[in-house]
Symmetry: C2
Amino acid sequence: MDTPTAAILVIGDEILSGKTPEANARFLIAALRNLGIKLRRIVVVPDEIPEIAQTLRELATAFTYVFTSGGVGPTHDDVTLKGICQAFDTQLERQPEIEAMLREYLGPQLQESHLRMADVPQGATLIYQPDLRWPVMCYQNVYILPGIPELFRQNFLAIQERFRTTAFCLQQIYTLEDEFMIAEQLHQLAANHPTVNIGSYPSLNRQEYRVKITLESKDEPAVMAALADLQSLLNPELIVSLPEVTEN
Amino acid sequence: MDTPTAAILVIGDEILSGKTPEANARFLIAALRNLGIKLRRIVVVPDEIPEIAQTLRELATAFTYVFTSGGVGPTHDDVTLKGICQAFDTQLERQPEIEAMLREYLGPQLQESHLRMADVPQGATLIYQPDLRWPVMCYQNVYILPGIPELFRQNFLAIQERFRTTAFCLQQIYTLEDEFMIAEQLHQLAANHPTVNIGSYPSLNRQEYRVKITLESKDEPAVMAALADLQSLLNPELIVSLPEVTEN
């Protein structure tokens, strides 16, 4: 089975203008990896319907899953659902169950304009989970999550098991060699192990190592074979044993 | 004059797979804002030439400036310049000045394969700065920056003044009102002040306020007029005086 792929679409002027540090893609990168899903694209766009629609159309066609963050609140700058409608040529319709939940939640304070929170794209699916107050909305392969980080995490974690697949196998080696001096060997290694993803990451400001080399695949024996080859290519005296290096 | 726009293209499997936390877009968001440039898109793609090329073509056409991060080192996974070539239908050619710098830098350790670091896209411009060891490369409106965060910052800061333009004016108001209850007023405010960008950001986990409202434009009088209107629309007893709230 092919590895499922994913894209994240972050919607929000507040991210692009530096008012709010991005937190949801940051969280989802690790969560998707943990589920065995290959994240292939992250896009951040402003709160503008045509930009959202065009990007969504591209991402939904190219990847197995798309996760959107933001733009689903009650104010004028929340236009994600209109973007969904423009992308997939559908329209908003009032969803009676959500309308009932809103009426109960807001009680006498409810204004007619609040009911626009009950308008969902025709054809959307609502995923109810016992631990969530509001359902998670999905349209085809697009999962629509709120921008508030606490809610984003809560909603994703509530539905994540439906996405889980074979885990990745990752091995890393740290060396004190200069990246320039091992570039040729790594090139050869990559050619000999085409199914293993080989990364080379130099560090300027660390004493412990100069290059981190990563080997990754869902095929564990392939990773271990590449690891053995890599160890024989590098100068053993310059390989550093580092169980885990915390990134800054 | 129209506000110049920008896009950031981050190139790197290590970001998408969660091996390295993204730091360069994070830095550039604030730096571009400070320069008065409107950041309109961030895209993260893997180390794959067709993805890089297609995205670059789109971004370079749509925005005033494009800044790329990563993929310019000496190893097999560094394919940004090949992406530039495919995007703009050009090819790599050996650059004698960089070749001479590499020969001097590496001395007797130089291997023939190292000289691929001297291969630059035909038609690229090299920007030399007194405080940089290597020049910054640019192709048309695309500025090509290294992925190592220290070098990314150093290179960008060395060339940033060429991009500076009129500053943004930003005003913010914090209120204890519920976002649901002020959605209608904000909608009206946005309609009355079309040149001001009005954002509404609820917070779930703060005692100090419930919604932050931001007003932003390059037209300072327009921002101040919107601010006066906003103050008259909100319940004055629920406006909170917070000079600066640090985001987490």
